[in-house]
Symmetry: C2
Subunit: 594 residues, 2 copies
Amino acid sequence: MPDYKAPLRDMRFLIDHVFDFHGHYTGLGATEASPDMVNAILEEGARFCENVLSPLNRSGDEEGCHFDNGVVTTPKGFKQAFAQYVEGGWHGLAADPAYGGQGLPSSLGLVLSEMIGSSNTSWGMYPGLTHGAMSAIHTHGSQAQKDIYLTKLTAGQWTGTMCLTEAHCGTDLGIIKTRAVPQANGSYAVTGSKIFISAGEHDMSENIIHLVLAKLPDAPAGTKGISLFIVPKFLPDTGERNGVSCGSIEHKMGIKASATCVLNFDGAEGYLIGEANKGLNCMFTMMNHARLGTGMQGLCLGEASFQGAIKYANDRLQMRSLTGAKAPEKPADPIIVHPDVRRMLLTMKAFNEGNRALTYFTAQLLDTAHLGTEPAQRQEAEDLLAFLTPICKAFMTETGLEVTNHGMQVFGGHGFIREWGMEQLVRDCRIAPIYEGTNGIQALDLLGRKVLGSQGKLLRGFTRIVHRFCAANADHPQLKAQVAHLDELNQQWGDLTVKVGTAAMKNPDEVGAAALDYLMYSGYIILGYLWLRMALVAQVQIDSGSGDADYARGKLATCEFYFKRLLPRTAAHRAAVEAGSDCLMSLPAELFAL
Amino acid sequence: MPDYKAPLRDMRFLIDHVFDFHGHYTGLGATEASPDMVNAILEEGARFCENVLSPLNRSGDEEGCHFDNGVVTTPKGFKQAFAQYVEGGWHGLAADPAYGGQGLPSSLGLVLSEMIGSSNTSWGMYPGLTHGAMSAIHTHGSQAQKDIYLTKLTAGQWTGTMCLTEAHCGTDLGIIKTRAVPQANGSYAVTGSKIFISAGEHDMSENIIHLVLAKLPDAPAGTKGISLFIVPKFLPDTGERNGVSCGSIEHKMGIKASATCVLNFDGAEGYLIGEANKGLNCMFTMMNHARLGTGMQGLCLGEASFQGAIKYANDRLQMRSLTGAKAPEKPADPIIVHPDVRRMLLTMKAFNEGNRALTYFTAQLLDTAHLGTEPAQRQEAEDLLAFLTPICKAFMTETGLEVTNHGMQVFGGHGFIREWGMEQLVRDCRIAPIYEGTNGIQALDLLGRKVLGSQGKLLRGFTRIVHRFCAANADHPQLKAQVAHLDELNQQWGDLTVKVGTAAMKNPDEVGAAALDYLMYSGYIILGYLWLRMALVAQVQIDSGSGDADYARGKLATCEFYFKRLLPRTAAHRAAVEAGSDCLMSLPAELFAL
């Protein structure tokens, strides 16, 4: 496994120069997120992830979780690392001070999340799911529920889960079968079986608080009849074991150290959270955060893969450069001299750094949506978030998977061997395009619900930003050609959307037919915009002799690479969008395979 | 694991209608490959693979190979299956009758290989490597060597390996360290360590015959100083154990039931095969076959994945169609009603059937190159083979990996769970773009050695075929638009090649910079040609009421899908080719990561 080093230089380039986090926090009155605080989090967070989590990543994969008669044991060191994480104050970083958190902005939590995910994605699932549960209780719980649960969850004494999926339904939650029957004492008896419950059972905390979707006896059919319940493993008042047990854990392709549980609820005591039959809404309010977190897994694993690949490409000697020996004193040249190896490395670098910029851009919107002082400002941020979230989730996981595969390929045959750790990154990444709403579902959300559902308003909220940016930089001495390229694509994006929208009015299948390619098309344009924002800053640094000129050169070169070799993929996606639904729908299902 | 059913309908569509195998065999005088014989091989081969190999696929993955003090044990059932395979006469199907084979054309061996690879890729490695060794001995061995080794190898009593890679070199064989010192008795003492040796040690045969690349004491440096040696595990005359031992087996991402061995040669007795210092040439003469076989792994695993995905897409109920319920009597519609699921399924189908057509097209060339009666005919086939082989290897494995990933995605969360078998197909497929020459190396071989190295002659040999085809079908009532599209791309292909060739004359790095995208670009066009050939036949069947109209409809719909949604990817690859090498080479290696 490549040793992980947090990419602090790139993080600071974004935080200090591209996105001016200091100004952003000041504007939102989040003065506790001072530059010193940010710096301390970067440095200490890096130290914790590099020294504590990263060394447990490969052993966790080899060992996996153990299941024995309802008891789940996490790999060696996981429990201790969690204790250290809690002791270090990391767990409550962005949590509400009213319940013991430090109250720092969400964006700083995400900066830390990236380091955790790169160093040990499986381990990161345990606190990650807990944060999801905390967010649901914080937003929808009663004061009494917050007092009981949030305090313990924030302190890391307890952890949390989200229990949505059942064997017969994942996407289609309207058909869940888990039932909640009201009891005399005001609680509910929850009965049913949930699958794919990350962190559903483990040995890292004293108690596990399950947030469970279930139906009341008189609930309407479909998604409008789903309610959300808190079901603790141990009842908080008595300490008694509740009627929920882990039936088994899954054997998976990757994230093997993350316990993926079958949970059986057998008349378990549960407490309604939020309004009856509004459970899906409760879940959706925290989706933005969770989906951004899942999207980041593409970035996290991509970054880890790049760190392995760049080292190997500089170390591994194989063949001579086509333009003559570059290391004549050695038996062969390091493989980074070969253009095709550089193609893979630069693709990795361009996606990782672009996806990191997208993450930070979106994370600032999350802050503004929470902390913005003006309603209009909050609404604008919410709208942009609604638009960008499915793109972050799907585009960053698709490209993250591509990146981890390139990293493995750079290693040649050694990439396929577990010992080197590169194939684990591919396996760990492979779940990200699937869970937290498959990428196909994200694409429908983007095109159907967000873009067309708002009559294009949410798209225009973003294209306007790009348009203004292009107008402001149309005459940039070094970058004007790329600005013009982006401007053209930005206009084409709007036209393409109108075309799809018009077709969809006649035939709703046009949305599904176009969705995934539309999302990828959009993602490439958005990354183009972000790459140009980075390039502008880099050019200023070079011109002014400020900042790190070497680093800035890398940014400019990668931006050029992105525009020349990756952005043209929009052409293929556009053609697929324009192909329409007929070529997908005309063949009867029974003729697909004969 | 999805139950494998050999796709006999598609195989027969190609064999009987698109490629007229009967006429092809008759023309080559291979009359033993009669329609009855072909039919028997299809049906009995399918039975063997479905009933014997397929049931061992998942258990083999779970169990893996065991290593204990130099002894390798294959998973339960593997040895027995090999015995059945040999008894059934499958092993010697395409082998020389002079040594006990049945002498059927190579193309029939490949038809069988597909079924083996789809049902159990790991198992298929053992006979596959043996066929490679047989081919090397047949082409380059002395009569005595053939008499001793080929007879036992053909009979399946012994198996074979190819020992090329060492820890410090895979691609760059010029720097191998294994040494062969001449002995008084005419043999050589071979000393060195080889890694990644598939089937290097196992329990399936009485003896293992290693073909080993090593350097003679006075050998010139580099690839012109490599010789090839036969090194048996047990000496054939005395039965004594030779000085070669298995030091360990690798723990891999996939093909876990294929033993990947470290082999230590410690003064092992070896016998020179072919001329001294011409060992690499000996290896290269059998590369076409081996690389085609590796390319087929993309097809094989893609086919297995499609079979799983299509069944699941028809069974799994989730959400309603956007155009209204299609199965109102059920709680939800089968997911095949959703356009995005169909996008994945049709992508799988289009690549699998296109790649199968490419395999059969190339397999016929292999026959002609071996059996052609006229030297010019053989040369033409050799030229086309030289051109197509790297494309088969790289394009079919890249697209095969995409296909297996789609298949997993169709399953949603269940795709990530080992029990369903879909993730194994991704893991097993992931080695194919790496071994037998990475796809980057294939791309250099195609663009540098084959296309530019022949001043475009090898490319023109293929574009001429496409051009004639387009001219002949320019007025086709139903398909003329697609014919015109192909014709345009075919011309663009030539123009693009000239452009790259011109740039490469000034800067050799232009070849490496363009190579992989050039190969993929070429692959998409070639599959377009083959899809149109299939569509023409399908249209004839529908028009004439002959053949299977339902099957023909599927072909036409998939061809349309391919042209509308996959072929446009050529635009992105072309842009990447045209981007040139500067955006890859300008950044100094030390600035890639800071």
